[in-house]
Symmetry: C2
């Protein structure tokens, strides 16, 4: 069976878990505490980060964008990229938005400060960084709302990898109670739609010792 | 004609300039000082970063990974991704390595501290960050050397987007004299090969007021 080395609060891991589940590809999840820099794991991926996908024949794939494109090319149904070139570019632009800009300004900041530091026993959250992340997420939620008021899904009329990338980040932040959903009804309605897909179930049942997600976390009709 | 909004020391812009030149696609370059946050530019790309490609019909594309995949799909010759799925994944993994890890640990650190701060008149370089970047680049050059001792090009037997992504970062750093080429002869030989391609010419003739690249910068046989 396929194996996926992941971390529960890694948005890049969550994106690939959503892709695998949507394409109905079975996978065994292996949690990797990347900060321990385990030698056998570094041999799989010298970059030292998750996700890493190991195919049934032992082939190793790293980097969430490379893994996604590989799965889309080799297991195309259901498609998570549109057919038209410009729409594909728009979906990939939004993946870049969330995995680049949103991650740097929000996820990496808030998840590192409020969750990873606790898991790694690496001290107290830096309140200036937490405040900056909490400010930035509002602008991003407004952008999500703006997009889905004009399109049914983030990148167009069909669900794409852009929706999964965005929802992967937001689900990590929702787990630690850090998404101010009141900022945008449209964004909240879109997230409820993504969250109600069967592919999302495994993410909603994640447990992390010492963390209690808010009651709405696993409720698709929040 | 196509227009590319770029910055001379943006590795993401340089990657797309190399792709356009290798595919023999003419483009007019427009320099964008992204830190000025020009409103007309933010309308083109709300993320506020370069590169942004505007097609002859006015279509706007942003995010260097999305732009690359779009150009590869619509102007496939010469191909910059291999044909086989696993080799494509390897090329994309290495693009992720350079545009993610290398950028965070090296380019973003050294170019920001040693060049952008001067261009933006934003104070003096932070010497701790400069030292960290100078340390990190050595490990990365060794990795480049290790790869090209085993393969002719970074991702395999043919030149791919991985070579252009890596060379785009290294050329920015070489411009400010920050690549310790003595660390790896194999990496240096590989870079000389990439640099001698006609597609590289436009990068080597870039001028930046107040900066004098080292004499070997524009010499393919350095």
């Amino acid at each position: 069976m396929r194996r996926l080395y992941h971390m529960p609060l890694s948005p890049f891991s969550r994106k690939i878990r959503l892709v695998l589940a949507e394409k109905k590809l079975e996978v065994a999840l292996i949690e990797e505490r990347v900060w321990e820099r385990r030698l056998d794991f570094l041999r799989l991926n010298p970059a030292g980060d998750v996700p890493v996908l190991v195919e049934p024949d032992g082939t190793v794939l790293a980097d969430s964008a490379a893994i996604f494109e590989y799965l889309e090319e080799t297991c195309p149904e259901p498609r998570l990229l549109p057919d038209a070139h410009l729409e594909r570019a728009e979906a990939r632009r939004l993946v870049g938005w969330f995995d680049g800009k949103f991650n740097a300004e929000v996820t990496d900041t808030l998840v590192s400060e409020r969750a990873l530091k606790r898991l790694m026993r690496a001290g107290h959250p830096d309140s200036a960084r937490v405040k900056a992340g909490a400010r930035a997420i509002k602008t991003h939620l407004e952008y999500v709302g703006w997009l889905v008021e004009r399109r049914h899904w983030l990148a167009g009329e069909r669900l794409t990898i852009a929706d999964f990338a965005a929802a992967a980040h937001l689900s990590c932040l929702d787990f630690i109670g850090d998404v101010p959903w009141e900022v945008s009804d449209a964004a909240r309605e879109w997230y409820a739609r993504v969250k109600s897909r069967p592919a999302f179930r495994s993410l909603l049942s994640d447990h992390l010792p010492g963390f209690s997600p808010p009651p709405h976390y696993a409720d698709p009709d929040f």
